[in-house]
Symmetry: C2
Subunit: 441 residues, 2 copies
């Protein structure tokens, strides 16, 4: 039986995952789709390089034109990562009326809207389920299954590396740097870990989710981003005593007509479904005005989980565009791009993203102070003068000097907390403000 042929741009971890899935699950895919799918050509950097998967039945090339020029290939799968040359290749593929599937979070978060408009203008589709949270279905659920909802908020654990590190620190009471080293040794963190631990990877993914949820393009540069380097075992211990877990959350909410979009370490109550998402697992919590609270949980990365999302997109395109083997570009078929609307820019136009200073939430504030009478009064006054109302104060480590003081505020504006901390920093009795972590419900 003849197969529908696709081209791969890149044959790294995800590309090999796609190949394995198409081979190992050929029978179930054919059963569900009615057709077989095979990889005809793949773009690689080096043809002779040893690989874990057999490439005997694939034409490897170092020239992208070999794939773009192949009239037998109706769908191109981009799994190279990074903005360029991926963007140029995808643009060229769309212009030649090839459908494109990508797992490229950085590219879609920064340039998704113009690329989707380009796809629409050529009557083809650009899909990107694999770009967020690996195998967890979240792009399609947001676009389709929740299409009847006004999305009120979403909160996600969407970076496995930082969740692995925080989970380990939490279970074993170990320091960030030590656990990071272990994660690097086990292959869960890159040798340059900054994209993960500084929150950028999560910000790319949040930009995509927030754009879909709120119908307006929100690029990563609009997202307030803070990583986990400053989180200490002591913060995690205090969190636990107060009833919270510490997670790197990606949060987007619609508040008073503006979008809040931020990535930062967060205290969440132990009873929250996200609190028990541990290790390299990802989860995305969504609140819709009809559906209520939902959570999607699973593996956020890896060859097969991400490959699962990529192949699902390929199958979707084949179904929607009525592609059949041997007749890859159906003559007279309707344009398969969504009728009239484009995901990132459906209806909200230019909605503005709220400044971090105007965000209202609760705060955990941990500081080291000289233990003597009157200290608490002077700190409390600084909070009061800045309109920051306190929910609880705990003094840790009695008899030591300096001594730890932990505050949890009521809901207050970020700018008021910043004002208070500036005043407090200047107090002679305050040795240091060790950490400030936002608290969500």
């Amino acid at each position: 039986m003849e197969a529908i042929k696709i081209g791969l741009l890149g044959l790294g971890v995800v590309g090999q995952g796609v190949l394995k899935i198409l081979r190992e699950n050929q029978d179930v895919i054919e059963g569900r789709l009615g057709s077989r799918i095979t990889v005809k050509r793949a773009l690689v950097r080096e043809i002779g390089k040893p690989r874990k998967v057999s490439t005997d039945d694939i034409l490897l090339t170092t020239n992208v034109e070999d794939i773009l020029d192949d009239a037998e290939i109706p769908i191109v799968v981009e799994v190279m990562g990074g903005v360029e040359p991926a963007k140029a290749y995808i643009t060229a593929a769309l212009e030649r009326k090839k459908h494109v599937v990508t797992a490229n979070k950085e590219l879609i978060s920064k340039h998704g809207l113009p690329l989707m408009k380009l796809a629409q203008s050529f009557g083809v589709t650009l899909r990107f389920e694999g770009s967020v949270a690996g195998g967890i279905p979240i792009i399609k659920p947001l676009q389709e299954c929740l299409a009847a909802n006004r999305i009120q908020a979403l909160m996600g654990i969407i970076n496995g590396t930082t969740n692995f590190i925080l989970s380990k620190m939490s279970c074993e009471g170990r320091e960030f740097s030590e656990v990071l080293r272990e994660a690097q040794e086990r292959g869960y963190a890159e040798s340059d870990p900054s994209s993960d631990v500084d929150g950028h990877d999560a910000a790319y993914k949040l930009a995509i989710l927030a754009s879909l949820a709120f119908g307006t393009q929100i690029t990563p540069d609009k997202i307030y981003t803070e990583g986990i380097r400053k989180v200490t075992p002591l913060d995690i211990e205090y969190a636990r005593e107060l009833g919270f877990a510490v997670k790197l959350l990606a949060i987007a909410k619609e508040v008073d007509g503006k979008i809040e979009a931020r990535v930062h370490p967060t205290f969440i109550p132990h009873s929250h479904p996200l609190a028990s998402v541990n290790g390299v697992f990802n989860a995305i919590f969504v609140k819709g005005n009809a559906v209520g609270d939902l959570m999607f949980y699973g593996r956020g990365a890896g060859d097969l989980p991400t490959g699962s999302a990529v192949v699902a997109d390929v199958i979707d395109i084949i179904r929607a565009a009525h592609i059949t083997p041997g007749a890859p570009i159906p003559s007279g078929a309707p344009a398969s791009a969504p009728a009239g609307t484009i995901p990132f820019a459906s209806w909200n136009g230019e909605v503005s993203v709220a400044d971090i200073n105007s965000v209202e939430t609760r705060y955990y504030i941990h500081m080291q102070v000289i233990d003597r009478p009157g200290v608490l009064a002077s700190i409390a006054k600084a909070f009061g003068d800045s309109d920051v109302s306190l929910e609880s104060v705990i003094q840790k480590g009695r008899g030591e000097n300096p001594v730890g003081l932990v505050f949890v505020t009521h809901r207050v504006r970020e700018e008021n907390v910043r004002k208070a901390l500036k005043l407090i920093e200047k107090l002679p009795v305050v040795e240091e403000i060790s950490n400030v972590i936002r608290v969500e419900e």
Copy 2:
């Protein structure tokens, strides 16, 4: 602006939810879809009955023909429940080339395949996302997002009433009958609770999920079904001591080419994501050979959650069939039914469902025995003679007579457990076998 018009069969809880969502979220739906959707006609039992929602702009009728005959209505939404007359009405709608959306789990689980074949033969679509787990997207994820996976297993908490009862019994140590009464008073359980508490509702939903997951129709009569009436606070306490939560699980697995499909109270480890799904929440855990472990969590019932799923199906049909206001049945459009394959019967043909006797799992067995020397030896011999190997034995309530004995077995075949229990029942020292509950990982 003109709207796309739909007809409702039924205006109960879910029907009113659909109406509320179409009204309150009109702007977001229009933004995503490019068109408005309104309810033109609704079939009701009694036109004059007072309702919580306004029906001023809807034509109410007691005659289904008014809806089926209306050429302006391309989509009919069935939210009456029960097999008849829903089946007759849906059949008639499909035959008149109307697309149908239903939330009817009993109907789809028993007659889904012939109805989908009928839809396909008339070039229209039958969708049923709302039939399982309310607002949680699970039908579409199984059919589309996980299309590249061989599904290995799924386990779900898909009945909110029993999960509410078991959660309450677990938190408060109360008896089943007492908590059931409270659930009835709070509207979480029907006055005749048997469909929920005896597991039938969960079996309908599992039949649908298993049919989609394994590509073969599995009807509810093939599903081994056991309810929660026999679960006692003592069982729950023992479970907790052993590290388990007690949940009514709906389980389907492919084992050695056969499908296991069963609904029964189950011990699951506290560390399992399903263990912390409490109250009326639902969750479905899915294991795919590419994607690994996934979980979908949310509200399994209610007017707006189920309405959210129903309206999403309506939006999907409008997008796929290119329906526009004023031109409800697009001329020359391709049949919108899935190309060549039908969800329930894609590729597996007639796969057989395993008999409960051949199921292999672990078992918790609680019995009351006379406390005297040699008792344990005689019971252990009966287990051994039946090839049931024991993982742990705990004697509860020392000095009482009779005394509680709790066994947890290793993985064994159900028929061996049943054989052992027959032998044990006859031992004069055994007062009663109080409960047998399966244990899953």
